[in-house]
């Protein structure tokens, strides 16, 4: 009698039961809090999803429509799933979970779930998105403050969470390092949590062009620093799955 892979998978691989804590299980679901709608960050996120897909990970991008901007409306590039969720945290979490199950059932998958940072105050509602949190930060005071607030909110509610930072909008690696270390220092001192660095993204004319044209940098400008940066960050993320 023919059987589905799902029927026999438990013989070969550990199975996540319903009682598995999503905060401590290593799931390739990355929660990305946005303090406010931001077209640049949305475009970076979309390009990152495309790059992850290009690196052979089935990738889904999940975000509230309000955050997504124009970039998130475009789906289908290199098989990236884009899901705009108009309802609240519960629906977004559900959508992200379903995407994760669907993608990982067929192999390597990655879900990038963007959500408003204000939702971090809602505790359990977005808890499944906190297990692996990635913050995009620019080296300016308000961005650093918002990033620190998001990271600290997660660290205080979920001490086991993986906390990561990707820096963008810098003029030098020194600036990027300073930015990262500034956040890491605060986190280590206040919560004893370490911060994982997920590289640097380049916010340049190629990014602007990708927003306007809807063509991802990895395809339109594959040999530019912006594309190299996306590849680097995607590699770091997929390497930590």
């Amino acid at each position: 009698m023919p059987r589905d892979l799902g029927d026999v998978l438990h013989l070969f691989a550990p199975e996540l039961g319903p009682d598995v804590d999503p905060l401590t299980a290593r799931r390739p679901l990355v929660g990305i809090p946005f303090a406010r709608p931001d077209a640049v960050r949305s475009a970076l996120l979309w390009n990152l999803a495309v790059e992850a897909s290009r690196q052979s990970a089935r990738t889904a991008l999940v975000a509230p429509g309000a955050l997504g901007g124009a970039a998130l409306a475009d789906a289908g590039v290199l098989g990236v799933e884009a899901h705009r969720v108009e309802a609240g945290p519960s629906m977004l979490v559900q959508c992200a979970d379903e995407a994760l199950r669907r993608l990982t059932a067929r192999g390597r998958g990655l879900v990038l779930a963007a959500f408003p940072a204000a939702w971090l105050q809602k505790g359990a509602d977005v808890a499944p998105l906190m297990g692996w949190t990635l913050v995009f930060v620019r080296p300016d005071e308000s961005s650093l403050r918002e990033a620190a607030a998001s990271l600290e909110a997660v660290a205080s509610q979920s001490p086991q969470a993986r906390l990561g930072v990707t820096v963008y909008g810098v003029r030098s690696l020194l600036e990027a390092r300073d930015c990262f270390e500034h956040l890491a220092l605060g986190l280590e001192r206040r919560f004893g949590s370490s911060l994982t660095s997920y590289g640097v993204l380049v916010d340049d004319v190629h990014l602007s062009r990708s927003i306007v044209t809807g063509r991802p940098i990895a395809l339109a400008n594959a040999h530019t620093p912006a594309a190299r940066a996306l590849a680097d960050v995607a590699t770091l993320l997929l390497g930590d799955e």
Binding site: E188, L195, T196, G199, P225
Partner: protein, 177 residues
């Protein structure tokens, strides 16, 4: 005897009494000693502290090979001083003192002067002769000063020891280009 040989002989004759006026009185105890590889040592001398001296003369500008020869001859002499002391106690040589080197030439280039300074703890003496070969002026060259290495920079203060490590595969050129 060729003209060159004659000139060299005249120079050596004129140098012999002047060697002891270079700051260290020297007593010449042997001349034209056949040393390592049958090469000739112009003089073996002794200073008042009992050190043996190997003196080599080059009538022209010194080639770097002179230094090689001098080091080899010093080793040759060092191996024999103890025997010489037994055979001729009157020489008042002390075998426990490493023989010293004095090289005489018309000129020494900078490379050779640095090598002479660095070859051993006791710098090799270099004397430059000038003027007439039969009445040469002899000048002891001071060892070239060492260029002081800048003090190693102290490691930057580490006011914060982070467990978190910044990572990126980018280079500065990626951001500035």
């Amino acid at each position: 005897m060729s003209e060159a040989e004659a000139g060299r002989a005249a120079l050596r004759r004129a140098l012999a009494p002047r060697l002891g006026r270079l700051g260290t009185p020297l007593e010449l105890i042997a001349e034209d000693v056949v040393g390592e590889e049958d090469a000739t040592i112009d003089w073996i001398a002794a200073s008042s502290d009992g050190a043996a001296w190997v003196v080599l003369v080059e009538p022209l500008a010194a080639e770097h090979e002179l230094l090689v020869r001098a080091l080899a001859q010093r080793a040759w002499v060092a191996a024999r001083v103890a025997d010489w002391c037994k055979l001729a106690p009157s020489l008042s040589l002390r075998s426990e003192i490493e023989p010293r080197l004095l090289l005489v030439a018309r000129e020494f280039d900078r490379m050779l002067r640095i090598a002479a300074r660095e070859a051993s703890a006791d710098p090799i003496r270099l004397a430059r002769w000038s003027g007439d070969a039969e009445q040469p002026d002899l000048e002891l060259l001071e060892p070239l000063p060492r260029v002081r290495r800048p003090a190693p920079a102290l490691p930057p203060a580490a006011p914060r020891a982070l467990a978190s490590v910044f990572r990126t595969g980018l280079t500065e050129a990626d951001l500035t280009g």
